[in-house]
Each structure stands twice: as structure tokens, then as C-alpha cells.
Symmetry: C2
Subunit: 227 residues, 2 copies
Amino acid sequence: MHTPIDVGGMLARLPLFQQLRDGEILSLAAGTREIELAKGQMLFQKGYLLDGFYVAVSGQIKLAFSSAQGNEKVVALIGPGQCFGEAIMFLERPSPVFAQALVDSRVLHIAKRSIFAAINGDSAFACRMLAGLSMRLHGLVQDVEDYSLRSSTQRVIGFLLQLVSAAASGATECELPASKHVIASRLNLTPETLSRILHNLAEFGLIAVKGKKITVLDAERLKRFNP
Amino acid sequence: MHTPIDVGGMLARLPLFQQLRDGEILSLAAGTREIELAKGQMLFQKGYLLDGFYVAVSGQIKLAFSSAQGNEKVVALIGPGQCFGEAIMFLERPSPVFAQALVDSRVLHIAKRSIFAAINGDSAFACRMLAGLSMRLHGLVQDVEDYSLRSSTQRVIGFLLQLVSAAASGATECELPASKHVIASRLNLTPETLSRILHNLAEFGLIAVKGKKITVLDAERLKRFNP
DNA sequence: GCATGACCTTGACGTGCATCAAGTTTCCAA
DNA sequence: TTGGAAACTTGATGCACGTCAAGGTCATGC
């Protein structure tokens, strides 16, 4: 049992839709349904075709590859307000990744026809979709750069600095947004390696680790730390 | 000295613009200029802001990162008819990559204002832009998957199979689209490693290498080859 | 022709990170 | 509280790939 949510109002509060006018919110809401996911539950498997895209409302969703050998590689961690699956929807191709809830979560599914209707009705909406996809692309390019020409340690440092800067400005403490296992996969390394790197950074007095709580002790030196 | 080109007609022949109506072609053409690049010439540097995007007409352009240590990593090889820089244009952020002509090339630069005008005038155009960005995104996700959970050899095999399938169907011969140095970087490996892998595949009778010419001798076994 | 410099190959060696295998800690649920 | 699984750490070992250093091969200009 769950309380019904105000889909229109919810959409209006999500970044992508901030600038939508009331009429548009309603037209989108018409093709929108809410999905509740229990921790560990799959939203869609690799290979699925999507007839819409998703917006996370609460909780956390993981997008990941799975290889034949059973390995898995996390591509993105989706938090409240973020959307995913647009590209696959537009392309009408099987999804290269699967989506799984890391904790109990709520997502909205917005039907393709609603999106196309909104694009047709309002070119500003189309521009926002384009900007959204561009940001996603930019992030992926960033990832490729990180994987290609930065070491494991540098990737971890970059991730930590991003985390604390995402918290209040000037903050030095942050909380890992998922289990270390998942974070490691996101950063393209094994849990063992991540553990060793954190240990190492702590030894140098650059950070302090306490469970999921990380304190950056010396951001400047951390930035310049060269394994 | 060069002969002026028919920009409108050229645009109409490029994939992205295939479905444009005459009026749109003209409106785009108004904000379009042609750029000629000599081999090795930079089109734009890392960090530049783009006030439009590019379409390759002839030649070949390389998009790549450069690291502080002077390493460089090729992200994409752009051939005739392909466009690039859209995402950066939409985001109005400094480009994370630089663009350089690998051979004498011609590109069109299409001004941002033309694009926005086209988007406003025709939602079908907006949809084509969205589809274009989605394809780009899809390709990058593919790359990330390759880098993360496939070995060097598997990446080379995938690349070769893609190359021959891009040639006539049923073809077994193909030509490397750039120098082995560039191909290696595109596949995230060193020239030495690429050389060894090609040598190795040839030893197993899976391919034959003659300069830039590669012949796939046994596509089935090549697909299943497991280092 | 020969020289010059890109480009590519080959071998020897080093290393960053994965893998494997125990521990140890944390977190719940009973 | 306590048992047990899941998450994390730690150490020993291995290997894929990078790095370094010589050649070799091919193209282009004189």
C-alpha cells in the first residue's frame, strides 16, 4: 500500500521539468506512471526496449553492464531528480545496461508519446531535452578520459573531491553515496584496490575514513597528490 | 584557392539533414561557413567554446584528449558526413577534447543560431538532433563497456569485425582508417601492444596483415577467439 | 640512386592493478 | 544479546599491458 503521489507536482519539481508550463506538465503527466522498487529489484534488464524514459523520485538506481563472465561494471548511479533511459528510448535499440534499485526507490516512467507530444508542442522543451542529453554525453566523455589517462588513485581522488564539493561549499566531510563495492565498480577498480587506495591516502594524512564517512583533511595536497 | 561549394546541396546530402525541407536547408546554410584544413592542422583546442558545431565533408578529423604528461587519447575518428561538437555547443562549456585534421580536410561550421532557428521552426529537426546525440551517447557507452570489461585483444577483434562489416556485406578485407598509432590510441592501447596483438591473431591464422590492409580469414573463429 | 625521417615491429623488462585467500568488522534479524 | 551473513580489509601472488630500447621497413625528397 502506498499513498498516491502528485505526479504533476512532482514532475514540476524535477530539474528537467523546472521550466515547464502547467499545460505541459499535465500532458506529460497523462503518460506518466509511478513505479515502486524494493531494494535489489530490477527495473529493466540489459537488452530491453524502452517505450519511455525514467525519472528517479527517491532512492537510488544503479545502471550497469554485465559481462558473460558474470562481472559487472557500474556506469552510473542515479539519485532523486535525475533521469535515465532517454537515449535508448530515442534510438529504439536494446539497452546495453540494466537498471537495479540499490535501495527502496520510486521512479516515474514517462511514455514516449508524452515526450514527443511535448517536443512538438514546445521547442523550449526540445532544447531542454537536448541540453540533458548533452550533459549526459559530457559526463561520459569525462569518464572515458578518467579511465584512459588517469591512475586508480587519481580517479579516487577526483571522486572524493567531487563528493565534498557537491556537499556544502567549504565542507570537508562527505558520505559515500553507495557501498564501497559499488563505488569501486563505478571507478573501474576492484573493492580490494579501492580499500588499499583509501588506506594509503589516509596514511599520508590526506583523508580520514570512518565507514562511509570520508573527511578530506588537506584538499590542496590531495589535489596535487601524485601516487 | 578553392572552388566554392554548394553548401545547401552539401548539407542536404549529409545524414543528419537528409530529411530537411528546402527552406530549412537555406536557413541553415545562411549560418554556415566552410573551413579547409591542412593535414595536422588544429580545428579547435581543448578548452575552446564552440558557437556552433561541425560537419565533416571530406578528409578525416581526430577528436582526442591530451593529458598534462603529454599523453594523448583518441576518442573519435570523424569521417565525411559525420558531425561533432553539438553537445559542447549546447552546453556552452569548454571542450574537453581538441580536434585535428589527420589528412587535408573540409568541414562545415554551422552557427548555433541557425540550429536553434531550425529547432524552433521544425520539431522533426529537433527530433533528428535528439536522435543524433543519442547515437553518440550510445557509442560512448559502448566504448566504456569495451574499456571496462574486455581485454585488449577482444577490443581489437571487435574493431576489426566492425570494420569488415562496414565494408560490403560478406567482405573479408578492409583497410585501417588511420595510422596504427592512431588506431591503437582509439582502442586504448599502445602501438606496441596493437602490433603484438595483430601479429598474434595472424599467427593463429585468423587474419592476414599487409600494411593497412587487413584480411579476416576466419570470422567465426575470430569472434570466438579467447586470448 | 641514396639519404632521411615516419612508422612500425620485436625483445627484454617493469609495474599497476587484478586475483585469490584469509581474516576482521559491521550490520541486522531472530 | 548473539549468530551469521554481508561488507570490508589485508597480504601474497600473478599477469596483462606499458615502458624502454633497438632494429627494420617504407615513403619521400634531393
